[in-house]
């Protein structure tokens, strides 16, 4: 049962052993459990969905049921409480991703964020040639029932980071199977479907 998705594998590679981790939108706790087992990390998961909470508790994960839109993070945690704050495929579902980013980088020294790229060529093609909101393996929803209310492109995200003085420490761009290709490294915003970013506050920003 402990088959780890390629996305989680990529994230694990970025985590330092014995570090303190907060997993936002931790789902059933699979990633955190994997990190505890393989990297001896400690920390918490946060998840709003009751059923996923139950699954996470079953795995022995510390999971705090919480609504990220209610800005519980800074209420619960002090500055730099975690070495890593991880948020997989959740940035685009919160009401204010820009404000949440500030919170993440407040409570965590580094953040690992993954999200789907709206500028992937398939999405562009559906919009351009069919005149329809894209529906793909990565974005398997209709426009009216999608939880993804704040879709962005890699470029958008990096612009926001630039604007906020957030440093992109590392970036990996993959397709929906989480494989990377030479093309993706050349034209990430056109060919990449999912991005993994490791970000942190710029050093200058920290010393203020």
């Amino acid at each position: 049962m402990n088959v780890i998705s390629p996305e989680f594998k990529l994230i694990s590679d970025w985590i330092t052993p014995n570090s303190r981790v907060l997993d936002l939108g931790c789902g059933d706790g699979k990633l955190l459990k994997h990190l505890i087992d393989t990297h001896q990390v400690t920390g918490y998961g946060m998840e709003i969905d009751p059923q996923k909470n139950i699954q996470a508790i079953k795995k022995g994960i510390n999971v705090i049921q919480s609504d990220l839109n209610r800005h519980d993070l800074c209420h619960y945690f002090d500055e730099d409480s975690f070495d890593f704050v991880i948020m997989t495929q959740a940035l685009q579902v919160v009401s204010r991703p820009d404000e949440l980013l500030d919170e993440l980088l407040n409570v965590g020294k580094q953040c690992i964020i993954t999200f789907p790229n709206f500028a992937h060529w398939r999405n562009r093609a559906q919009l351009m040639f069919l005149g329809k909101m894209p529906e793909t393996d990565t974005l398997p929803y209709h426009w009216y029932d999608t939880p993804n209310i704040h879709m962005c492109t890699f470029k958008d995200f990096e612009n926001l980071c630039e604007q906020k003085g957030i440093e992109v420490v590392a970036r990996t761009v993959v397709n929906s199977d989480h494989r990377s290709s030479f093309g993706m490294s050349l034209l990430p915003n056109l060919l990449g479907e999912v991005a993994l970013y490791k970000i942190q506050r710029k050093i200058a920003d920290k010393s203020e």
């Binding site: 918490y44 079953k58 022995g60 510390n62």
Partner: protein, 382 residues
């Protein structure tokens, strides 16, 4: 979920040594009445203590000799979240209670009279100290878990603070780290209702062969009201009338009035709850404030706690709202303590912690599986 008809037999621990109380008073000796369910394993690693709420008692699961199910029977028993096929479950009637443990309705060994109002006010810390004697008596070094809802949850917190190495898990359900001014105010109105009843006789009603029924029923009606939510009362009673039309008098007209009167009457007469115990329990609740001993900093109070925690709150509980549980969670997080927190969607108000709910049961059950895994890891599951 299997049901159980296991008949639970109350037992009594007689402690023949004085208990120094937080108030400065002393109990020369005391009885603790308790029930147990399931079997204690060879290394005594599967024991769980359940702490009861304001009007609760030691009969938490199974059925008593009259066939009455325990107050948390829905969650404790064979195959239930607290599975008595695995765990050895203990529940005692709090000191100052009225169901067999030493309390206002028992005899003062010094004077030979019924204690009545002379029973010293005990606090949460005193309860924990007395329950610790029960732990020693049962030959249990460390509780696998302590579980409590409402006032019982507060006791669990107190245990985790006062005897950190005597419990591995703490389940704090529908509780608060201390009472708010509003909570205390409700308690005070309840006490005034009891004490102003002409049958109260300054607490010496048993010797006069009477009980302050009216006052106690009123106190219970008020208390009960704070256990329910506006939504739940709306959906259960609405503005429904008993007679179908307005009577323009001061009798019982609305169904909700009838329900509350019934609850009050049942508590004061058929259940014959002791009015002095009600006064004492509300006082103990008012006094509960573990942070007070630690510069009023709950994080500092919980710094020594080594147990792993599960905190649960219910969305429509306005007596001890989810925000009160957040305070507990926050203090635990400040200490990097292992804690999980569930905020259960329910319209049943404070009472929700006793009622069936899929999410609540799922959380409770999975957490108890974790408690069990820890016992297995200690080698005690065999």
């Amino acid at each position: 979920m299997t049901t159980t008809n296991e008949v639970a037999k109350p037992q009594v621990l007689q402690v023949e040594e004085p208990l120094a109380l937080i108030s400065g008073a002393e109990l020369p000796r005391y009885d603790l009445v308790y029930e147990t369910y399931g079997e204690l394993n060879a290394d005594a690693s599967n024991a769980i203590l359940i702490c009861h709420a304001l009007s609760g008692d030691h009969h938490v699961a199974g059925v008593d000799e009259n066939g009455k199910p325990g107050w948390w029977d829905g969650y404790i028993g064979p195959g239930k979240p607290v599975d008595t096929n695995r765990f050895f479950v203990v529940c005692s009637n709090n000191l100052g209670g009225c169901r067999g443990s030493s309390g206002p309705n028992t005899v003062n060994p010094v004077s030979g009279r019924i204690y009545g109002p002379d029973f010293p006010i005990v606090t949460c810390k005193d309860w924990v100290n007395s329950q610790n004697k029960l732990r020693e008596h049962l030959g249990i070094d460390t509780w696998a878990a302590l579980i409590g809802g409402s006032m019982g949850g507060m006791q669990v917190l107190q245990w985790a603070i006062d005897f950190p190495d005597k419990l591995r898990h703490a389940l704090v359900i529908a509780a608060a780290p201390k009472l708010s001014a509003q909570n205390i105010a409700f308690n005070e109105v309840a006490r005034q209702a009891i004490m102003s009843d002409p049958d109260f006789h300054k607490g010496r009603f048993i010797e006069r062969d009477t009980t302050p029924k009216q006052g106690l029923a009123l106190a219970r009606m008020l208390g009960h009201l704070t256990y329910l939510s506006d939504d739940m009362m709306g959906s259960k009673f609405g503005r429904e009338l008993r007679e179908g039309k307005l009577q323009y008098n001061y009798g019982v007209e609305f169904q909700v009035e009838s329900y509350l009167r019934y609850q009050g009457e049942k508590f004061a007469t058929r259940q014959n709850f002791d009015a002095n115990t009600y006064l004492l329990m509300t006082k103990a609740l008012d006094y509960f404030d573990p942070a007070a001993d630690y510069e009023h900093d709950l994080s500092k109070a919980l710094a020594a706690a080594t147990a792993k925690f599960l905190v649960v709150s219910f969305t429509s509980d306005w007596r001890f709202s989810p925000e009160r549980s957040h305070e507990i969670v926050k203090a635990l997080l400040d200490n990097d303590t292992d804690v999980s927190y569930a905020e259960v969607e329910s319209q049943h108000g404070h009472d929700a912690f006793l009622l069936p709910n899929e999410h609540y049961e799922g959380v409770f059950r999975s957490y108890m599986q974790r408690v069990w895994k820890d016992i297995e890891a200690l080698g005690g599951a065999a």
